[in-house]
């Protein structure tokens, strides 16, 4: 009985829990509560993916109002995959948050932190699960507003400016999305995605269709921090508390990319976007320029958090590149990279969080001798860093392999070569951190002192995942492949 309501429970649980956190107030109690909610969501998300893989698409009519009149939650392989990813990250990070947030956030704001965290989580899950175009906007704003608040919790006063700038950019982006959805509604009279995809083809010739798509894609590109609309990202990631950085880096941009995938492939269809508008002619060069520009910026950063933030912009370029190929292999690569990058970037930011807890700084200059001072943390950093580069046996290799394969399939070997060469830039920026941490002596010797165990556990769970999925490629690749086929409408 309760099974049938899984899709809505997945959203309602964190959404209702957020105000309960404010009522509970007591720090440990709130944490324990948030932890239980995240675990329960993880359980429900895994169950949902298993169901979808077995029985196919699940459609849930909210309040019993049948689509297209009511709001529909529609779960297929693509979003079940994204839902699981967000749930895994949220559950792993809430463990990390216990000591890390205690250190970085003022004690009287803890319960508010967990409330905002759960709200953001609910919003992200909502974007992923809904089958209604306007509902995407509502959940997008739920997650964005709470993430502005989360970023502003950072200790540095620059966190406030970063949050404000993100608020302006994010709201502009979200409003662009509303304009796009409004124009789509104007043409078709429906907001249900499946219904839209049936009615839009009749409108393909009109200028309104093009304008609607333009607004929608620019809005989503801002939210996904796609180059050159990434300006808000480095500051926001740099000054936010470590947990928040890891959470946003691993989930917020990924969910926006999912929304982009959903609108381009399911709602508009590959035929309109890529054959009529030749969107790939814009997407592929932009993603390549983005990969190189952001990787080069990363090399020159003096703050590890900011370095990783620029690297995130570059990695989003790889995902976009995969989408730009418009083939099953390319999309598989993009989807796998979406999953893998979330794991490794979260692991990397958590390692930074551990160092920040002990040293109080993410400045590269303060990382001298860190290899000796925090050997376990740095080991995780190096392993996740290797994955970022794309060394074989790590997840990063798997996704790059599929991307290059997709380029070669199309016969675009210069793109394959460029994607390969760009990994060298990742070698440089990861090496800069490793060099300082392992080969530069610290000014005054300090004893070995690792971060508390909850932080270690959650960092190693994610680092372990990058290794595990690097060897067991079967699971992620198979699911991503089915998701890619679903998006392109190819039957296996």
């Amino acid at each position: 009985m309760i099974d049938a309501h899984l899709p809505i429970l997945l959203i309602v649980a964190p959404l209702v829990s957020a105000p309960l956190c404010v009522l509970l107030r007591q720090k440990t109690l709130v944490w324990a509560f948030a932890f239980v909610v995240c675990l329960a969501s993880l359980g429900m998300a895994s169950l949902l993916l298993v169901r979808v893989l077995q029985d196919g698409v699940i459609s849930y009519a909210l309040g019993g109002w049948i689509a297209p009149w009511g709001i529909e939650y529609r779960v297929d392989v693509v979003n079940a995959f994204v839902l699981l990813l967000v749930a895994i990250i949220a559950a792993a990070l809430v463990v990390f948050a216990l000591p890390s947030a205690a250190d970085e956030i003022a004690a009287e704001q803890h319960y508010l932190f967990y409330a905002a965290y759960l709200l953001c989580f609910a919003g992200l899950m909502g974007i992923a699960i809904t089958g209604d175009a306007f509902n995407v906007f509502v959940f997008l704003e739920i997650s964005s507003l709470s993430s502005y608040a989360l970023i502003a919790l950072g200790r540095d006063r620059r966190a406030l400016i970063a949050s404000y700038q993100y608020l302006i950019m994010g709201t502009l982006g979200a409003t662009f999305i509303v304009i796009g959805i409004g124009l789509m509604y104007m043409m078709t009279g429906t907001l249900n995605m499946a219904d839209l995809s049936e009615r839009l083809p009749a409108m393909f010739e009109t200028r309104t269709a093009m304008v609607a798509f333009a607004f929608l894609s620019v809005g989503l590109a801002i939210k996904a921090a796609m180059f050159p609309l990434h300006a808000w990202l480095p500051n926001a990631y740099c000054y936010a508390p470590s947990v928040v950085t890891a959470f946003l880096a691993a989930t917020a941009t990924k969910v926006s990319i999912y929304a982009f995938l959903r609108f381009t492939f399911t709602v508009w269809g590959a035929e309109f976007v890529f054959e009529r508008l030749n969107f790939d002619a814009l997407l592929i060069p932009l993603s390549l320029v983005g990969i190189y520009a952001a990787s080069l910026s990363a090399i020159y950063q003096t703050d590890v958090k900011r370095l990783l933030a620029y690297s995130s912009v570059a990695q989003i370029g790889y995902m976009m590149l995969g989408i730009g190929f418009v083939s099953v292999t390319g999309l598989t690569g993009g989807m796998v990279h979406l999953f893998n990058h979330a794991m490794m970037k979260a692991a990397l930011f958590l390692a930074v969080g551990c160092v920040v807890l002990r040293v109080g700084s993410s400045k590269l200059a303060d990382w001298k001798g860190m290899g000796r001072r925090m050997p376990i943390t740095m080991a995780a950093f190096v392993l996740a860093g290797l994955s970022l580069i794309g060394v074989p046996l790590t997840v990063g290799f798997v996704s790059k392999w599929y991307l290059i394969l997709a380029a070669l399939e199309k016969g675009w070997w210069p793109i394959a070569l460029l994607a390969l060469l760009s990994s060298l830039l990742a070698v440089v920026y990861v090496w800069r951190v490793v060099e300082v941490a392992y080969f530069q002596r610290m000014d005054e010797p300090a004893p070995v002192k690792e971060a508390p165990w909850p932080m270690q556990v959650s960092m190693w769970v994610l680092t372990g995942a990058t290794l595990y999925f690097g060897l067991q490629t079967d699971l992620t690749v198979r699911v991503a492949q089915r998701a890619a086929m679903g998006l392109l409408g190819v039957t296996p």
Binding site: V138, L145, Y164, A174, G189
Partner: protein
């Protein structure tokens, strides 16, 4: 023709003024005002498209007369709530920024961080 599209022209003009203010103005409050204008212009767009000339509200509808679909208006009710939340969060941030920097001009804030 031009008169019939008056609302849409007004939308476009308001939207551009709002967008320009939000991006180009260095004052943080003025940026928020611009953002507000931009959002309100979009509300107007939705409400304009929901208007059917001669249409009545679909309440106790029996005869075959034209009616206006209330859905766009309801959507905008949601968007207005979101707009209020955004504005209040933005203003709250501005208060905190004022406390931390004692200025609301973007260029001065950047300067003070470099000291």
């Amino acid at each position: 023709m031009t008169v019939g599209l008056f609302n849409y022209w007004a939308c476009v003009v308001l939207m551009l003024i709002g967008l320009y203010t939000a991006i180009a103005r260095p004052n943080l409050i003025k940026k928020l005002i611009g953002l507000g204008m931009f959002q309100v212009a979009v509300f107007l767009l939705y409400i304009s498209m929901g208007k059917v000339s001669g249409g009545t509200p679909p309440i106790l509808h029996t005869s075959g007369e034209a009616y206006s679909n209330p859905l766009p208006h309801v959507l905008i009710l949601t968007a207005i709530v979101v707009g209020i939340a955004t504005l209040s969060l933005g203003l709250a941030l501005v208060v905190r920024i004022w406390e931390a920097y004692q200025t609301l001009e973007e260029d001065e804030i950047v300067e003070r961080d470099h000291d």
